[in-house]
Symmetry: D3
């Protein structure tokens, strides 16, 4: 099974962090291709940055999806996910929706732990767009300026555990989702200290992708996720034009 993971951010160090996490989670036989956005921002935290990340993800899959059995969009908030799901014939999974799906199988209500206050509004909207706001116990976040995004989880280890404990004790969380590329793999390192299940979003997305491929759920040839109709297009990068022409 060949899995393409696209990081809609330009940060190579985040790609490395996520790739490590993905490889650890993958079943034997899963071959992973990891791509970093050739253009965009270091780390998406806002709706504007997500516009760029979505477009970057679209161009990446246009150029590289061929030959893969599934695609993972690897930025919390899932920029471009629904659109890319329409245009490809293989399963496309976002790390947010993946984490939410896993969390729902582990308890009734989940909390999200995030790396900045700014990002929480966008995360909340992501949960709403997944139709799961009724199961969101809370979103808690670090609230100080971050140094290097790639070392957020080690720089703030104690505070991140405190946020988890607060979510459990004060907000009624049954499950915790550490959110965002910079927290990839954190679930594993703090598992012993946090007394509820933790869901790593990249790991979860890899596993869901493998499962959907194994189940041969099939592509949408009708309904709202069928390929968009072919129509006049102009001014787009060649791979995108080719993808949209269904060629």
């Amino acid at each position: 099974m060949r899995l393409l993971i696209v990081n809609p951010n330009i940060s190579e160090s985040l790609s490395q962090l996520m790739e490590d996490t993905a490889r650890r989670a993958a079943a034997p036989g899963t071959e992973i291709t990891m791509l970093t956005a050739p253009f965009g921002v270091e780390y998406i935290e806002t709706r504007f940055e997500a516009i760029i990340g979505a477009y970057a993800a679209a161009t990446m899959v246009a150029e590289h999806a061929a030959g893969h059995d599934a695609v993972v969009i690897a930025a919390f908030g899932d920029p471009g996910l629904a659109g890319i799901r329409e245009i490809l014939d293989v399963p496309v999974i976002g790390v947010t929706e993946a984490a939410l799906a896993s969390a729902c199988l582990l308890g009734s209500r989940f909390s999200i732990v995030a790396i900045s206050r700014r990002i929480t509004a966008w995360y909340r909207e992501s949960v709403e767009q997944n139709g799961l706001i009724g199961r969101l116990a809370s979103i808690r976040s670090l609230d100080r300026p971050l140094g290097d995004v790639a070392s957020v989880q080690t720089d703030n280890a104690a505070r991140l555990k405190e946020l988890c404990m607060d979510a459990i004790e004060h907000d009624g969380a049954d499950v915790i989702i550490p959110a965002g590329a910079p927290l990839s793999g954190l679930a594993r390192t703090i598992a012993a200290d946090v007394p509820v299940p933790l869901v790593d979003s990249v790991s979860s997305a890899v596993r869901h992708a493998e499962s959907l491929v194994a189940m041969k759920t099939g592509a949408a040839r009708a309904g709202s996720f069928a390929r968009p109709p072919t129509k006049p297009v102009k001014g787009l990068p060649e791979p995108l034009m080719r993808l949209m022409r269904g060629a």
Copy 2:
């Protein structure tokens, strides 16, 4: 990985059907134990029958869960699921919630195809209890008396495909979930004829169980899914008493 699947119905033929489906879906290395309820009804369609099924499932896991890495409750509607999740230290998955989680990764809105009109009210409540009513496009069902539950899917093959097509064309379904033990495996046999992704609930539960075990998400030692406090108990079967005493 050792997986216990409990059928809260007494029908051995349904257990056989589900076990076949489960084995086909399982990853290499997954060992499956399939159990049929020692008491209860042939096939749960109503809330009253689900009370009995939930209790049967509880007694089965009390006696047999030891030594397994995960448990699947194998009746649509997930009788006893949330309670059993509290009392065990391993992941517990219901086939309904499993199918819903997978469906959410394949499209925006899903429809359920069921085997009897009577059962649809209970299914609708199951979707509500999962907090996903906003993503339910419709529930459509067969409406004639069933003969043998074990042959429902072959006896009604054409009608079942029509129900899928109606859900896609009239209700806006992006994904279809054939629901209930008697339809286990149907997703595979009709995939070529239904132009949207189909989710088999037993297969989906097996895969989710494997994934949660692989991710080592951890047991709840706090929050509302921690083990219930020990307290005076009487008159229960010995295995249940032992389980509740945490022994």
Copy 3:
């Protein structure tokens, strides 16, 4: 009018407390039969315990409902309620839904005051399953280990009043529901000290049961609360088998 009240807990002292409350609330001419679960736990606080309580309630009504005009399920959270409503031809009322119905007639938003933190998750789900989460102002609870469940309300009198006042002042509660068998009758004793209406759940259930019987609302012979279809059954206690056969 003959009313059967079943306590799905095994605690005789809680049955006594609830029976006293019920008798005080009942109209002249109402004859009450009070039953305590022959098996199960002392006091249901979790989803797992509710599985057992639901089954215990089912077996109790199977054996004893005959000759009664209505049934009350007397444990907050209403274990087994919807199922038992299907199988009987007389009104079946849960103390939670009864309290919620009364509270809705006394104000816009209500708070629940509970005896332990653990129980609040289950209570919240009960409100959700009643479709009334939009009217829930808050759930507040005692948070220290309880001694004897039968004396919770006297042991914690001052704290319970404080919880009520907090709900009114900070959460916007128009009405307070002291929840759970151990708080039966509390509404009456603290009424003078709490400046909003209080609803006693057992009293409320008794009154609703009397009203539904008086109104001759009729049994469901169609729809999702009609009696389940007769089907193969095995291994159940004789009274349950008889009830399910409609005999």
Copy 4:
């Protein structure tokens, strides 16, 4: 127990119909005072007519509530209900909320059967304002010009039963509420022909009023249903001014 029932419509024949229904439903010992609006419209079907009905109800209770133990607002849609609940120290019940509360105790989802298409929008909003839209299966209505409002139920007997059957068979109704003063008492006359429980709204309101009085739930002295603060007032009928001054 002395119960004041105010009809916010000017129709004496509807008052007569409702009074008959109320007396039949009332417990022994309940003394009923029935009032008809001294001004307003024959029969409220729209939001504008409800403004007038609400004000008429307010003036009626200002003049006549003294000496009563509870008040019923007897027009579907409950014009003025929440406001009147604030200003009086006794329970105030609307026939709509009463019927909804009873219906919720008889099944999961209810349908409303109404006398005109025009009225259905207002009824839908009433259900929404009660926070129960999630339990509404459907609203079905007569769709031809009515003759005499007082004979609607006999003039349309067959059609009304058909609407009930359609709600059960096509919309998933577990319970039916015939809505509006002109259908008072219909539940009783068609009970034998409709195979699910029927709720008569006036009867239900009378019974709930009796129950709340019996339970001594207490008046709101705090929260949003406490009496409004005294403030400058002008130009109102003397009884209303007196009521608002708390005199």
Copy 5:
């Protein structure tokens, strides 16, 4: 364009305040008629007072709407709005719904700042009735006795800014709505000190009214906002009777 603004309160000083705000907001060419309720309360804070305000608004438009192109109901909570919209052939706007509509165009979630704690329950219900509770971040309010309602905003200038800042920092507000006639015009005076967009409800209503008139959106001749059917009426003020007869 001729615009009628009706203040359902009797306070002339509030009318003056709102009229000043309205004139400042109005486009050139808009002629404003400002009316103060001839009867009612000084300042509506509760549901009961809103019954009277709604009726007062209805009588005012009955007497004075002729010759105007649009009507604004100028009390937060919009008493009588939906009903008056039915009976008139010109656009009718409430200041609450106007502010909510504008706020939704400026951010995802808004907070309301109110002048008394008592009023917040009614405001919350107004947001719910507009179907926008999902976008309400919070309602915060002054909590001390007010002196003169006409000078609330100057008497409490510092505290009002603090409430805005709290809503932004703690509740996630993207936009602030200072609510109620006494806070008319406040948005302008504190704009420099509050770092998110502020919406003045009277200004907003005036602008929306002008826009709807300019767009010639047309009157409802069908649907639930068509004029109510003519029917027997009695005891109402002559202008109201005339309006209801469509004369």
Copy 6:
């Protein structure tokens, strides 16, 4: 007042149609700059096409927004709206949200009339993301292949009126929104034949933009719509990089 309208589609004829509509709606003194996407698809109907449209809109505002007082995103579904609102200091309005805001001021529930079945799923999600699904009566659409998008409204005049009438009679619509650039201006031409208010989305957006500018609601300097923090960026068109650096 200078207003920039960006068409995220590449179709010049749709831009012309929308510009005509916008000029007709604009107040005297509003200067309109109309831009057509330099790259993308002829007409956005799907989520994938919206990714491209959102990015095109972002690049257009980056290059051209300077010197304008407000921006309108002129494609139903509002691609890129929330992100662009973050990055600019002037009001940014989407035609969908504009139409929804106006519709909410004209009735309780609205229907959308669309040009293709495929587009309806995306429209439904747009209404959900605006938090207004509770007020959506229905979405109805043409269902035949379109010829020239610029002449859709004349080619299908009769059918479009029928869809409006169906929405009113069968779905309970109080207001109709003809949706999508190809239906710009339709509201005006069919107003006489459709008996409920119609909202033209482009006209509505122009009017709202003028109103927000006139009210000086202010830019977000805090909250989730403040400008995103400056951070490393690469590979983007120069105007976009400049905008993101806040230069």
